[in-house]
């Protein structure tokens, strides 16, 4: 229940956050919503000595459309993503995923940037970020760089972020025909399996598909064999059913715990792939 001691600083701007991180050497840790970090600190599984609060940086939160791309500030809360009229209209799958994260209080404080940087293998956002092929915009001492969501996660709780870097925002081209389906772990509410599907449909045919998977394996992955099976096929429930079957194959680092064995997780991938695909196709009609 009780964290170890640390120094606390508030960053006033992105540059300030970067400068403070650099000054702290390896000892600094950003805190945004704190809803991954504080629980770990309370159990003393994380014992940072300097905390740099980025939650008060102006314009760090917000959702807008720029040049036909959606841009979400890293500091945007799950609640604001879940209830964003812009996302509901242009890319509802992202809002759907935010809406099933944890519980209302968690969604009121947890942020998109914090979730992605933390890279919990059972987190929800990573799957949707893969499906919408998001770009992550990162600021560090050496300036800006952009990393594709598919390259960002390197393993369990490890991402492509240097100790002096801040994830500033996420951008992606909106996809309306996309959906997220999740099997909840009963106790924690995290995903045992979560699948996000984004489809580009032209003339009744699936021109391209991106399927992101979370929860099942040590890090989020794209289901490329499902994507391949969908490409060029009619946008129908039959196609979805047939393609979803490829979902469980080829993933070799499945998680296994008391809540779900690797075998069960493997079996659930096609089930939730199918549900996500059906959800996406339902948006085609609507």
């Amino acid at each position: 229940m009780i964290p170890t001691a640390f120094e606390y600083e508030r960053a006033t701007s992105l540059d300030d956050a970067v400068a403070k991180l650099a000054a702290a050497g390896g000892a600094g840790k950003l805190i945004a919503g704190g809803h991954s970090l504080v629980p770990l600190m309370k159990l003393r599984l994380s014992e940072p000595t300097v905390l740099i609060d980025i939650a008060h940086i102006p314009d760090f939160a917000g959702i807008r459309e720029v040049d036909r791309k959606i841009e979400i500030g890293a500091g945007t809360t799950h609640h604001d993503v879940a209830t964003s009229p812009l996302l509901r209209e242009r890319c509802p799958a992202v809002a759907d995923a935010a809406a099933v994260i944890g519980d209302p209080q968690v969604r009121n404080r947890g942020t998109l940037g914090g979730s992605l940087a933390h890279a919990d293998p059972a987190a929800d956002y990573p799957a949707v970020m893969l499906a919408v092929d998001a770009d992550l915009h990162i600021k560090g001492s050496k300036g800006w760089r952009v990393v594709a969501a598919r390259d960002f996660v390197q393993g369990v709780f490890t991402v492509d972020l240097a100790p002096d870097e801040v994830l500033a925002r996420v951008t992606f081209a909106p996809v309306r025909t996309a959906a997220y389906a999740k099997l909840h772990q009963q106790a924690s509410r995290f995903a045992i399996v979560g699948v996000a599907a984004a489809l580009e449909v032209r003339g009744g045919l699936i021109a391209s598909a991106r399927i992101g998977l979370t929860g099942a394996a040590s890090s989020p992955v794209r289901l490329s064999n499902v994507e391949a099976a969908l490409g060029g096929q009619p946008a129908s429930s039959e196609t979805a059913a047939a393609a979803a079957r490829f979902g469980g194959a080829g993933i070799d680092d499945l998680n296994s715990d008391i809540h779900a064995s690797a075998e069960y997780r493997r079996a659930m991938i096609p089930v939730f792939t199918r549900r996500a695909l059906d959800g996406a196709l339902a948006r085609l009609a609507g």
């Binding site: 009780i2 606390y8 805190i31 809803h35 629980p39």
Partner: protein
Amino acid sequence: MARVSITVNGRKRSAEVETRLLLVHFLREQLNLTGTHVGCDTSQCGACTVLVDGRSAKSCTVFAVQADGAEVTTIEGLADGDRLHPLQEGFWEEHGLQCGYCTPGMIMSAVTLLHDNPAPTEQQIRDGLDGNLCRCTGYQHIVNAIQHAAASGSGR
């Protein structure tokens, strides 16, 4: 140590605190606002729920220093003088509590729930309580209590 200044139930409170002090302990131990409870150490139970800048938050998962400059409302600040808040009325009328330990957090969550959705369906109420555990009531009377408050126009 750090100096924080937090407006709690409308009153500005300043104090010198350890940076690692959790908001819930700031409220309970420094301000003696013991209506906010602690039921877990992994941020699930919601017994510690307060409003931070108007929205429900688990005060066990926020450091007091993070709330510096914020407005916090606790269960003690909900009634309007002697007039109970409609949710408090609802919990009383509908027997929405037994041991009462989860109750302050439940009520504070319900404040945000009704703020966002003044006329929720039963399912929406149940889903809206995902961040609050009660071991006594089986929730049915809690749902009734929130419906009672909604009917009296609490969220509007």
